[in-house]
């Protein structure tokens, strides 16, 4: 019961803020609402016993990415901030489409019979994750590191532009 209450509360916050983010006319408000939504997702992770992920979520999404976005907004903003985030002409068909999707998703999920497993998940996730990541998925781990580096270099190059050699 407590679980249910928690879940519905968190879900309401997460979805509501995400939705508000979409319909907000002010891009700053959107960014802040997105932050709330991210934190909501972190709470969902906690509900799922994924404490480490919840921490990562807060750090990366709510911390880094939101900051990024806000910087982006500041770089590109001009004019009245209240009109910075309008809908495009596709809004109505997109809304219909999204509603359909949500319904389809819900129906599908409910109608599907899931193959549940009976094994209890490990209680301490951090160590288990570390084990996996540095043994079985070590290649992916390293590649991710390289990817991040590449993204960083790429981002710098793109923004800075290549100097034309004389």
């Amino acid at each position: 019961m407590t679980m249910a209450v928690m879940f519905y509360l968190i879900a309401f916050v997460t979805l509501g803020s995400a939705f508000m983010m979409v319909i907000s006319k002010n891009i700053f408000h959107s960014a802040l609402l997105m932050l709330i939504s991210f934190i909501g997702v972190a709470a969902v992770y906690i509900l799922l016993h994924a404490d480490f992920l919840a921490a990562v979520q807060v750090l990366v999404y709510a911390g880094a990415i939101t900051i990024f976005i806000v910087f982006g907004i500041m770089f590109t903003m001009k004019g009245d901030p209240r009109k910075t985030n309008p809908f495009s002409k596709n809004a109505i068909p997109a809304a219909v489409l999204i509603l359909l999707f949500i319904v389809i998703n819900a129906v599908t999920v409910i109608k599907t019979v899931w193959p549940f497993s009976n094994i209890a998940p490990p209680e301490t996730t951090v160590k288990a994750i570390a084990d996996l990541m540095l043994t079985k998925y070590v290649v992916g781990f390293e590649v991710t590191a390289v990817l991040l580096l590449a993204a960083m270099v790429g981002a710098i190059v793109i923004v800075k532009g290549v100097k034309k050699s004389s």
Partner: protein, 113 residues
């Protein structure tokens, strides 16, 4: 009947998380499809990324516990990817913005005939 439904409703299980993550995903998609500002589009994409992670973790917990925490590991990879993505994406946006002085996706129509 009502009881069963009520029970289903109150016992939080896999379905709940899936519906939550799906709905969140589609809200993000809504932003991608319907917003004019390219940064709002980017934000929609971020929402979509996170929602996917919920799926990964939820499935890991309810249906694939024997696979240890693979779902978590992949969620972390996705987060890393999202971070990289947002960095490059923003860089692109700024780069385009410098050329076109616009953040309106409708102005980005190089793909036109």
């Amino acid at each position: 009947m009502i009881d069963i439904l009520m029970d289903k409703f109150l016992t939080i299980g896999l379905e709940h998380f899936l519906i939550l993550s799906g709905t969140l995903f589609f809200i993000g998609l809504f932003a991608v499809l319907a917003k004019k500002n390219v940064i709002a589009v980017l934000m929609g994409i971020e929402i979509m990324f996170t929602s996917v992670n919920i799926n990964l973790v939820a499935f890991n917990k309810y249906t694939a516990a024997e696979a240890l925490l693979t779902g978590h590991v992949f969620a972390i990879f996705v987060i890393a990817l999202a971070a990289a993505e947002v960095a490059v994406g923003l860089a692109l946006i700024i780069s385009i913005y410098r050329q076109r002085t616009s953040t309106d996706v409708q102005d980005f129509d190089w793909l036109k005939w």
